[in-house]
């Protein structure tokens, strides 16, 4: 089995703390760690980690996702999705790789495989124009 998604604190530029509650739309390029409550949508070219205390009601588009908390909503990942022992996923998953560890719950539609075309998450360029990263790579700090 391929290596699991690293969830070290240094990997996440954005952290939504355990006491935080966030409603809205998050669009960015790095990784995000969610320890609190989030309602809305997340679009990133990086990875998303929902810790045990994290609870998402969201549409998520990301490169990969590791779930230890709860996600209610649909998830599209270009690479890997890991539902860990305490993870609860209620929604549809589209990804190229999936791991459901014993104890995790997953109820929803599943499309997994190397041929599954997960639409890359659009990122906002410096000019504020939304376009898929495959069209023109966007460098951080540009």
């Amino acid at each position: 089995m391929a290596e699991s998604i690293s969830t070290k604190n240094d990997d996440f530029a954005t952290v939504i703390g355990p006491d935080a509650q966030f409603n809205g739309e998050l669009t960015f390029q790095g990784g995000v760690r969610i320890d609190g409550k989030f309602d809305g949508s997340i679009t990133t070219t990086g990875k998303v980690f929902v810790s045990k205390s994290g609870h998402l009601k969201a549409e998520v588009k990301a490169a990969s996702l590791a779930l230890e908390g709860k996600l209610e909503g649909n998830l599209t990942a270009q690479d890997r999705v890991e539902l860990r022992a305490t993870g609860q996923m209620l929604g549809d998953v589209k990804a190229s790789k999936l791991l459901v560890v014993e104890g995790a719950t997953f109820i929803g539609r599943c499309e997994v495989g190397p041929d599954v075309k997960a639409t890359p998450a659009p990122v906002t360029t410096a000019k504020g124009v939304k376009e898929p990263p495959t069209m023109r790579p966007v460098c951080a700090g540009k």
């Binding site: 459901v100 995790a104 997994v112």
Partner: protein
């Protein structure tokens, strides 16, 4: 019995009526004392093409890389290395290896999808998703 050894027995769920049966470990099939239907109790290794309505065993099932199954599948543990088109229920875990191609709805306690495998269907995976097994723990 010569040697004094008693055959090992195990508790299973009838694959038709989901009621508990106690069977000899070595039995290949038994008749259910509740619904009187034949219950396959041997481990199955599928190496060829199988197209039936129901393909059930109260034991492990492994669909090898040459196995192509068009059926509703039920097993204790299910490993898929080949092709499955149909719904699958595993009392314990479902494992899709890198060559697996699965189209159907899956239900089980755990699911492992190795990189390279493909799966399209509705899934219900989790410790509470197979309530039938509670009868075995009583």
């Amino acid at each position: 019995m010569p040697g004094g050894s008693t055959p090992t027995r195990r508790r299973i769920l009838c694959t038709h009526c989901s009621l508990v049966l106690e069977v000899d470990e070595a039995a290949k099939s038994v008749s259910c004392r509740h619904c009187y239907k034949r219950v396959v109790t041997e481990a199955l290794i599928v190496k060829n093409y199988v197209a039936v309505r129901k393909f059930h065993t109260a034991n492990r099932m492994r669909i090898t890389k040459k196995g192509i199954v068009y059926a509703a599948v039920k097993a204790d543990d299910l490993e898929i290395d080949g092709v499955l088109e149909g719904d699958a229920l595993a009392m314990r875990g479902i494992r899709l290896t890198k060559r697996a191609r699965v189209k159907g709805n899956l239900r089980g306690r755990t699911l492992v999808v190795q990189p390279g495998a493909s799966l399209v269907g509705d899934v219900r995976i989790g410790p509470d998703c197979v309530p039938e097994t509670a009868a075995l723990e009583e």
